[in-house]
Subunit: 331 residues, 2 copies
Amino acid sequence: MKILITGAAGFLGQRLALRLLERGELMDANGNRQPITELVLLDVAHSSHSGDSRVRVETGDIADRCLLERVITVETAAIFHLAAIVSGQAEADFDLGMRINLDASRLLLDVCRERDHKPRVLFTSSVAVYGGTLPPVVRDDTALHPQSSYGTQKAMAELLLCDYTRRGFVDGRVLRLPTITVRPGRPNAAASSFVSGIVREPLSGQRSVCPVDARTPLWLLSPERAIESLIAGCELDRELLGTWPVVNLPGLSVSVAEMVEELRRIAGNDVADRIDWQIDSRIEQIVGSWPGSWETSRGERLGLAPDQDFAAIIGAFINSRNSSDPVSGGY
Amino acid sequence: MKILITGAAGFLGQRLALRLLERGELMDANGNRQPITELVLLDVAHSSHSGDSRVRVETGDIADRCLLERVITVETAAIFHLAAIVSGQAEADFDLGMRINLDASRLLLDVCRERDHKPRVLFTSSVAVYGGTLPPVVRDDTALHPQSSYGTQKAMAELLLCDYTRRGFVDGRVLRLPTITVRPGRPNAAASSFVSGIVREPLSGQRSVCPVDARTPLWLLSPERAIESLIAGCELDRELLGTWPVVNLPGLSVSVAEMVEELRRIAGNDVADRIDWQIDSRIEQIVGSWPGSWETSRGERLGLAPDQDFAAIIGAFINSRNSSDPVSGGY
Ligand SMILES: NC(=O)c1ccc[n+]([C@@H]2O[C@H](COP(=O)([O-])OP(=O)(O)OC[C@H]3O[C@@H](n4cnc5c(N)ncnc54)[C@H](O)[C@@H]3O)[C@@H](O)[C@H]2O)c1
Ligand SMILES: NC(=O)c1ccc[n+]([C@@H]2O[C@H](COP(=O)([O-])OP(=O)(O)OC[C@H]3O[C@@H](n4cnc5c(N)ncnc54)[C@H](O)[C@@H]3O)[C@@H](O)[C@H]2O)c1
């Protein structure tokens, strides 16, 4: 079985690639386990790879049709489409966000459509599709009123993927990811970058700025559980998805204050006191428009699970830092 | 004040143009009545015009950037963007629907953005944005799970217009129109074409096919009320629209059986018996996915009103046929 990952050099892409290689197989659309014979890693940044003979690295822009036509063939059974311009950058550079988050996603779907073999396409959407006046608990059938260009572009790409699926051009699945934390490495241009920062930096002796009010509710999932969910989402029986193949991933609803309290409990006052509270209204506006809690019975029925609690999320991060995990150092 | 109508040769476009010329003025963004000095009528079909010196006819494709750059200038204070590929045709020709309903709408918004004067853009969306498993009464905050490419393209264009508005590129407003009926003239490629057909054809002595079950609920508005709503929507105070400038227009929830009963009561058995019941599963699937009833308190609070009852809708149609209304004969 041939698999493509776009955004393969990114935070989740790197981890997904490692996990797929380790697993060695993926269920096909008929529910049969098939060995992974080729894993194409596509990213505009270079994907470091382990020298595994199954891996093919392609460095280039997913907005480039020729490149997509080369990497998507009738043998491509599954595509994990992760490449994206993250929230903060898509807000700062509107045209870039539109070109990658919307136009390149459409191009990828169009190349699949030309191939006419209906590959599975797993698309990663986000809490940022929600916004505006929200009910206390967001449901699968709550309307999308995104208050950022990133959220708008993700919501539009969701609609596109659903229509391409309905028409039989692809077998699409959308997972709406909570904020994935704790992310190793350095801060990035996502508006949610601080969520990992306020745990990661203090734990390594550095100060970190929290740009939002401590009461801000967040919706969180660990990288480990996110990767398991991406694979499970790709393997889900098409029939179970019904007419709307979009699933809100189960996660934990935690306020920033609760995160810091847990960090204090696990790592002590010295660590927790390395956070500087300094409101950034631009970030607060984006993050504050996201739901802090959502109803996920659908995702749970489909067998997708959240982390046990926030302590488990911090614990997993501390473990991965201490292990020889080749990607935990960031990039 | 300079105004542009796209799709000006269409059913609603023709009527809107006449009504604006008759009115002679439109409120500007500050709530001051301004005389209409130029009305640009853009359509790929030729817009017949009354010889009024305020009218400028432009025949061409809204997917043509040069044309849009010519017709949208910094003097353009309001744009009624009605040009569209209707539901049946967008389902039959996917690429054409994408090109006009999505890409050309985006192009229009981009030309406005370049002009940098934030014109009001009124966009006509549809019940077709809803679909899938719906609550009995659809609300403003019910999620959009469109089950047609037309509905998908309208939903995507809504999201785009909202983001362009949030960013300050345009002052956008979206009205979700019920099925507008009774439409004079001949059947068209909209999946809802029969809704007018089963009243219009029998009244003029011809047989007409109803392709859906008599129990199918519909959400209806007369052309007269639709035009008043388009103008009111454009004149609405920006502040009243809040962070999500999309309004479900108030309409009447009527089943096909109730429509036929009312026709029978008003025009007699001979007329009502001219309907042939012949299910077309393709049309039933599209129309059956639309909501038959929606909660419209928001639209009502904004001063938008439905017709009194279905008898009033039939009455208005009979009157317009008998009058000298220059567009009632269709085109
Ligand atoms: N991490 C989260 O908290 C989170 C939450 C919700 C959704 N998501 C989504 O999950 C996906 C992966 O997220 P991530 O955290 O790994 O993001 P990331 O920014 O670490 O990775 C994205 C990758 O996409 C690549 N990319 C960007 N533009 C490209 C282009 N034009 N061509 C090819 N590659 C390009 C980048 O180089 C990067 O390696 C994204 O779609 C993101 O929107 C992530
Ligand atoms: N009539 C309804 O029941 C109804 C219901 C919901 C929404 N709407 C929406 O209201 C708007 C007007 O509807 P209508 O009933 O007048 O439709 P219509 O089909 O009568 O008019 C649409 C017009 O757009 C023009 N057009 C199509 N492609 C074009 C292009 N590439 N360039 C320029 N012009 C082009 C057509 O020539 C036509 O004159 C549409 O956006 C429609 O989707 C209508």
